[in-house]
Every structure is written in C-alpha cells, then in structure tokens.
C-alpha cells in the first residue's frame, strides 16, 4: 500500500493533464464544430461539401488512427509536434466533427416560424442566427453536447499511446513498477468516473437553467 501511496502525486498530475487535454480540446472543438455546422447549412455548395467530407472523415475513422497519424505522420511531412499539442490537435479535430453534427441538429430543430419572424422584421441572416436561432439551438443540443464532452474525457486516455503522461499512462506505469495493476487501474477508472460525474452535474444545471424560460 505504501508504494501506491507514493504514487498519489503522480496520479494527481496525470489527472490534471487528462482534464487539461479534455477541456482544451472540447473548447477548441466547440468553436471549430460551430464553424463547420455553419458551413454545413450554408447555401454555398463548396463550403457545404467541405463540411460534409470533413465530418465523414473524422467521424468515420478510428480516433486511435487519427492520433497516431498526427503524431507519427506529421513529422514525416516536416511538421514536428510535442505529444501534448499533437494530442490536443487530434482531439479537437475529432470532436469538432461530432459537435458540428450536434449543432446542426439543434439548428434544424428550431422552428421555421422563428426564421420567418426574424426575417419578416428585416433581420439579416447572421443576426437571425446569433439572436434567434443559436440560443434555441444550443438549448436543444445541450444534452448531446454534454454526452460528447464526457465521451471526449474518456477518449483522452488514447493519448497514452503517443507518450502523453496522462491518467491512463500514469496508471500503467504505476502498475508496472509496483505490480499492483488492479489497484492502479481501478483508481484511474474511478478518477475518470469522478471527473465525468462533475461534468454530468454541470450539464444538468445548464439544462435546467436554459429550460427555465420554457417551463
């Protein structure tokens, strides 16, 4: 048990890295996903086609392949990246594909009458999006977006294969140096669960707050 107790600081550090990977990639993916959703619903055919191809590629291939391709593949093209930035880049691209579909679903679920009411008062397209459609779409998409955030938190464990010392990799090394694999992985799993429980509560609070106007 002593050996494991000694591992607490390094486990905490791994946890911090995991949270950092998840939160950063989610925030960046949220922004990129929003842009992709806009392209996807735009009336410009080229933008729309690019968005469709993007989503198809990043949603249709394994995340592990994307991670390794970015980390091992980019240097071959002369682009060097340290493990953490390369992992964040991959997670961002990957979650943007999913989030863009969540946004699109939310936007499409906003009633046509809302567009018409805004249009009939002379609002521009972009202002209609900002003032009328997005606030409603975001509320509709919140459960799906919350799911995505939680899934991403767990997906960050794949960064361990490109030497990022996050929670999973810490657990692995603690396990191999102490031969207490069960304890190490159970603790790591519990920490993921704890992080995601906090996210779930946050999602619930957000949903309740946004639903208040509709009660």
């Amino acid at each position: 048990m002593d050996l494991l107790a000694q591992s607490v600081p390094i486990l905490l550090k791994g946890m911090a890295i995991t949270i950092f990977l998840g939160v950063t990639s989610f925030v960046l993916g949220f922004g990129l996903g929003g842009l992709i959703a806009l392209a996807r619903i735009s009336r410009f055919t080229l933008l729309k086609a690019l968005a469709i191809v993007y989503v198809s590629v990043f949603r249709g291939t394994p995340l592990l392949i994307q991670i390794m391709l970015v980390y091992f593949g980019l240097p071959q093209l002369g682009i060097q990246m340290s493990p953490v930035p390369s992992a964040i880049l991959t997670f961002t691209l990957y979650s943007a594909a999913y989030l863009s579909e969540n946004f699109r679903g939310g936007i499409l679920a906003v009633e046509k009458g809302q567009w018409e009411a805004a249009g009939s008062m002379g609002m521009t397209y972009s202002r209609t999006l900002r003032r009328v459609v997005f606030p409603q779409a975001l509320r509709i998409a919140t459960p799906a977006i919350g799911n995505r955030f939680i899934a991403l938190m767990k997906d960050t464990s794949l960064a361990s294969v490109v030497t990022v010392v996050e929670l999973t990799r810490v657990a692995e090394s603690v396990g191999s140096s102490t031969f207490r694999y069960v304890e190490a992985f159970v603790v790591a799993g519990a920490v993921y669960w704890l992080i995601n429980s906090v996210l779930s509560v946050g999602q619930e609070v957000l949903e309740r707050r946004m639903g208040r106007a509709y009660a």
Binding site: G119, S120, M121, A213
Partner: protein, 265 residues
C-alpha cells in the same frame, strides 16, 4: 384616408412544384386602408400575403412598398436586392397564425428586439416604446414573462406589439385568430380593431366574417390563385355578385361559428 399607395403588387405568380398558387395577382393597398383577404383554403390568400413582404419569393411580378420596388424576374441573389428586401420587410410587419414569438425572450424583449437590433434605436428608448406598446395591447403586467407562460391570446397580442414596434407602413396578418380557442379570439380581434381606429394600414387574411364586416374598407376574395372580387364589405357580404362567393359564404355560415352570417345571406 389618403391616396398614398402603401403596397402595390403587380402580376404576381407563384408556383410550388406543379401547383400554381398565384396566377397573375394585382393588389394595391392605400395608406390607412384595411384590406381583408378571404377565400377557400388553397385559394392562395396566405401565399399572397407572404409574397407582399417577400417571405415567399414570387416567380414573377413585382412588389412596391413606399416607392421601393423589388422585381421578381431578374437575378435573385445580388447584395443590393437582398438589402432592398430587408428594407421592405422592415416596413411591412407580419403577425403569424402561430405567433412565432421568440421563446427565449420575455414579452418585452420580444417587442424591443427589432427596434434595437434592426432599427438600431437606443436601448432605453426602445424599452420606453416597448412598454407603451405592451400597455396598448393590455399586457403591462406580462412584461417579464416568457411566451411559455402566456395564453394564446396574450401571445398574439405580444406579437402585435412586436409588429407595431417596427413602426411599419403596413401590418400583414396571417389568420391571426385561427390558432386560438374561440374564447381567446375576441381579445385579439379587439386589439386589431383598435389599430384600425388609429388609422393603421393592414392586410388581414381571416375567416372571421363579423370582424371583416366591421373593420374592412375592402374585402378581397381569392379563388384558385386569382382575385375574384374586390368589394366594400357591405356589398360583399349582403349582395355578393359571384356564385363562388355566395357558396363560400353559405359554407362558412353552415360550419357553425359564424351565426352572424345568417342575416348576411
């Protein structure tokens, strides 16, 4: 009533796929006039109304609002044309059958949205005007309620205040009471009558015959994509020239909720 033309629509055609909904429609609405459009369902009355502020793009024809003309035969997507359409929409407010209030905003926020974000009025001024308009439709105490907390009649009155807040040349009403329970219709009709008394120019698609008789300067009867008749309400309801109109009015009176029609026919 002045002789200024508020809206002039000329040669409007509109088809949805194989269905020709408007076949060459001309309509002129003068300032201060209240025009009621009636007709059987599928006659094109709602489409005509929606074409007047280009919520629906006609396939041919032109719309002129206060001297600004949008033609529907030339190229569609130019920047200048889009701006012109927005300009026409600012001048022609619309009240919808399904209200279409913004559910994430309170009653007051709904009313001041256009003034602040389209007309660029200072916020404090917009609030002042918005409160006055809510008072005018009798909803001062609902100022901070979201639409979900309002009855259908209250929602529609907020929608009317929202339309007024744009200070439009014309308000277009698309069956404003059709989605309401009978006991809620009166309050909305009363609000519209008040506007008429104040000289507001309005085009109203409705099935409310008693209301049309009282408020309209002119009744436009549409059938199968044409305007069949334009007439003063007294002549239209008591002595309709056309057999189509007579059978329509008979049908409306048979269907129950318009007992006042008995005397008309």
């Amino acid at each position: 009533m002045t002789d200024d033309v508020a809206i002039h629509a000329q040669g409007l055609h509109k088809r949805f796929g194989d269905l020709e909904v408007l076949k060459s429609v001309d309509l002129t609405v003068r300032s201060g006039e209240v025009v009621v459009i009636m007709g059987p369902s599928g006659s094109g009355k709602t489409t005509l109304l929606r074409c007047l502020n280009l919520l629906e793009e006609p396939d041919a024809g032109s719309i002129t609002v206060r001297g600004r003309t949008v033609s529907c035969s030339g190229p569609r997507q130019s920047r200048g044309r889009r701006r012109l359409i927005r300009d026409i929409r600012v001048r022609t407010a619309m009240v919808f059958q399904q209200f279409n209030l913004f559910p994430h905003m309170t009653a007051l926020q709904n009313v001041i949205e256009g003034p602040i974000h389209v007309r660029r009025l200072p916020r404090s001024y917009a609030i002042e005007v918005g409160e006055r308009l809510l008072a005018r439709v009798g909803l001062t105490d609902k100022r901070d309620e979201h639409p979900a907390r309002l009855s259908g009649g209250q929602k529609q009155r907020v929608a009317i205040a929202r339309a007024l807040a744009m200070e439009p040349e014309v308000i277009l009403f698309d069956e404003p009471t059709s989605a309401l329970d009978p006991e809620l219709r009166a309050e909305v009709l009363q609000a519209i009558k008040n506007l008429a008394a104040h000289g507001m120019t309005m085009v109203i698609v409705t099935h409310e015959i008693a209301f049309a008789r009282e408020v309209a300067n002119r009744v436009v009867f549409m059938d199968k994509g044409y305007i069949l008749e334009e007439q003063s309400p007294s002549v239209f309801f008591s002595n309709p020239a056309n057999t189509r109109i007579r059978s329509f009015l008979r049908l409306m009176s048979d269907s129950g909720p318009h007992p006042e029609l008995e005397e008309a026919s």
